[in-house]
Assembly symmetry: D2
């Protein structure tokens, strides 16, 4: 691992992040979950880890954020491992073109959500992850272990305040669940699915952990540092394609243009992106743009790919 390379990487990250510091005050913190609304809105962090192990970070990269919808990436990876490709009978793989929580398309398409990154799809994935036997506690615990393994860090926890806060306000997600249950596309009781879903959204990770946890996707499914196979090469491609097309709600097209990399964002202000064959990157800044993605985070990634030419498009 080259010291010079790491210096270069850190310098590139520094330049990128410094160039967009004025963007940190722009946008609005998610306030539909009380626990999220309390996070200081001027936080900013970024972290990179390359497939050869070089790292760089900027700002509050060791401070935990609520990963929220980024968890959809982890539950999808884990559930595909657990249940196989028959999952795709229950959820599609195409962009939705509707708001992340829309129920209209779900009625037209008879309870089969468009993709695993809109809420309805993620709820189906969680239901499949639960399967027909496991307790919600065991399921959550297994998922947390999966994420800790990915990040190689056992200190990762679930923020129970956030989980509870989210669970108490989960009316729309409950509506989506019952709607799918009506179409027989939900096996477990709705309460079980929502319990696990709200726990997974409340996983608390810092940018270093987030970047590390996505590194296997930059290396064809194999963790390049531990050499452990996380998912098959084909599955890694699938996850990257899904992130590229649907990873940023109704602004995925804009993200593909500006950043040109597969990524997944969450309303906690975090974004994780994959640079195939090169690295994984995580950014965090709580203020969101109109589409629910971190405003300064997206700007930082845009600056970084201009510095590094890491964009694939």
């Amino acid at each position: 691992m080259g010291f010079l390379l790491m210096s270069l990487l850190q310098a590139q990250l520094d330049r990128s992040c410094q160039s967009i510091q004025h963007e940190i005050g722009v946008g609005k913190v998610a306030d539909y979950i009380p626990a999220l609304a309390q996070v200081p809105s001027d936080k900013f962090a970024a972290a990179i880890i390359t497939v050869t192990g070089e790292t760089a970070s900027f700002g509050a990269a060791k401070e935990a954020l609520s990963i929220q919808s980024i968890s959809k990436l982890f539950t999808l990876a884990s559930t595909l491992n657990l249940r196989g490709t028959k999952l795709w009978d229950r959820v599609g793989r195409e962009p939705s073109g509707n708001a992340f929580n829309s129920i209209v398309q779900l009625e037209m398409e008879c309870g089969i959500p468009r993709n695993p990154f809109i809420n309805a799809g993620a709820l189906v994935v969680t239901d499949a992850m639960l399967g027909d036997q496991q307790s919600t506690q065991d399921c959550t615990s297994d998922l947390l272990s999966f994420v800790r393994d990915l990040a190689q860090d056992n200190s990762i926890v679930i923020d129970e305040d956030v989980a509870r806060s989210e669970r108490d306000a989960a009316f729309r997600n409950a509506s989506l669940c019952y709607f799918m249950k009506n179409f027989k596309n939900l096996e477990r009781p709705v309460d079980d699915v929502l319990d696990v879903y709200c726990q997974q959204c409340a996983i608390s990770m810092n940018c270093k952990q987030l970047a590390r946890s996505a590194l296997f996707l930059a290396n064809n499914g194999i963790d390049p540092l531990t050499h452990k196979k996380i998912v098959s090469e084909e599955r890694a491609r699938r996850l990257n394609a899904m992130m590229m097309l649907c990873g940023h709600y109704d602004a995925s097209g804009d993200f593909a243009f500006r950043v040109g990399l597969p990524g997944k964002s969450g309303v906690g202000g975090g974004i994780v992106v994959v640079v195939p064959d090169v690295a994984a990157v995580a950014v965090w800044s709580p203020r969101l743009n109109a589409n629910g993605n971190s405003h300064a985070g997206t700007a930082a990634l845009e600056a970084l790919v201009r510095e590094t030419q890491w964009n694939v498009l």
Copy 2:
């Protein structure tokens, strides 16, 4: 009360019902609730009561049926009495043009259902009927008393088997409830609303009781036999207008043409209609047409209005 008039009325009803007996085998019994699917499909009944007290009946007119959506008429009348016209801030009064259980329109119109006779609207009415203090048991009990008073018959009961069967399968209605709760258009917990809703749908009445219970709507809101004011004249007009435009799911236009009277149907195969200033009529036959209305029941009403010229259109 004229004996001759009653003979004439009975003769008209007999002729009408006999002329459509071949229709009884047409259509399909509702099977989404197991308890409903067990009702013998060849049942047929009809009952008339006039504002001057003459009665006529045909077939199994003393045999109880599950009133199902006909209950929406009673809960609406009762809730308007209890909560007043501010109910209309929470539910519209126009035809929906969509299936009775569609959620699409609800998303476009931000959680305000189109009218109280589609499921979403009826659930809001039930929530308003419950109010913020009453227990679900007291609410159900009060509604049952209201219906018994209307029918002047204390033997009317709730079929607990049907209620339970319906409650266990209430996924779509749960979805509608949570969706509206997300838009702050449901005050009580969803489980409370569904408990009461499934109880009200499971009220068990025979055609004689059903016709009697709607008689006040043929007399400007006043029970013509007890002289008790049930609702104001204006409210009676409102209920009749609602039945005329929205009383038969997505076949209200067809019913208005064929029968030309305000009415409300239920998937149990019952239909109650109001002949303004003249009478109330109830029919029952479990097999339903494609729109969920009793096939033979509609045919019998059509024949009856041709006999009696009771149609208002």
Copy 3:
């Protein structure tokens, strides 16, 4: 024909109209067609004709208004006479629950409009009226003759300025036409259909003529004064049912409650209503409510049915 009865009728109409004169300034004149926007907004008129020939009028009852969507009633009656009930294969008979010019439902239902009183449905009716041979001029001329016969008045004309103004702005209707043509539910070239449609909307009639032209619908399809059969009794019921359920755009439910009679309104501010077995009534006042119906006109009809108890609901 009783002089006393006519005095009574005139007195009732006078009282009704005088009681709502303060409503004349409320609402907004339709301005999407320049020629309509020029009509003085404070006009008010009403006219009644009974099945026994008594008449009464108020205000500018001899002044012509642009009948606009009221024409949909005449084209429907005429086309059913010309083409028979196979018209119903091409257009439904149920309320739409969407704006009068919505295209969404049309896509979901594969080019079959919900009813003949929404624009898409009226355009299909016009196409059927045209048939496969007639010239647009002959078709328009035949329709005008039909309306003149109904009104027993050969002075009725088409306002060519309004027709042209409407034709030039008919983009949305053209879109609906091409959409249906794509589903093979339009036989003639779109331009032909739009030409006739814009002519029919531009028929110019006063309230006396309008009321007279709808009188056959109050008498089971037979003109009670000439004894000429205009449509069959069944067809008269169909037309009345259609008006009751769909005659006032997305405010048909409200109209059914307030007025309780079958009617058809137009954006020119005219409304014609049918009192079965009794009379036909026309009102006119250009300012419209939010749903596109004459504000003062509706108020006048509401007052009139309270005076006369003519409401059927």
Copy 4:
């Protein structure tokens, strides 16, 4: 230019194409345009050109196909050059999640199409390309020149039979046009827009020409062989992002997974893809899968990226 490299490239292409020859008979030729339905369904071709000028081809690579929707890529590039980024006020840049010719979303979003690759969006682009002064002939001629320049081949022509055939059946596109005109999002007469649109779709190119014409997109907007700047680097990224997210109708997600490259398909059975920094590839086989993309063509591209590891995801 290395002879060995070209041999390798040709060998890779040969292996890829040979491995999927059994797929050529699968799927259905587009038949909504008579002229397209006449193309022999067992055609197959592929062509590659690299940024350093190496070429390889397979099958009928010199036989012309109707490019159909692939033309949307060329008109978008040309129109952005002509009219600048204010085009984005009139058309979005996000996946649509609906069928390519749906009008539902257009109503909900008030006449602003989701992206330039669905029909509504492409029609807006064509309207903008026309601008307010140019004749349709000049516009079509300029576009053809633009494409000939891209392909460095003046023999490319428009198939007038296909254009006429398509123009005669353009009812749905006419509906989309008038709908947008109603929302003031179409400046020119609908007939002008449809004339040019049907001409552009009927451009006839072979796979070699197609691959050559997209080469600038593999080289940051600059033709790597002529060194001519076609579009800015930013615009090239935009076009690639658009192809990646929306290039294959409602199967873009599937294509991103299987092929992992930006591409655009047409119902003529052609697909062109961009391998950033490396090459452009075109394939052709007329039989389409359920989503309207060439079945064997997609399979060939999938095989090729497995051979070459050219996928970016």
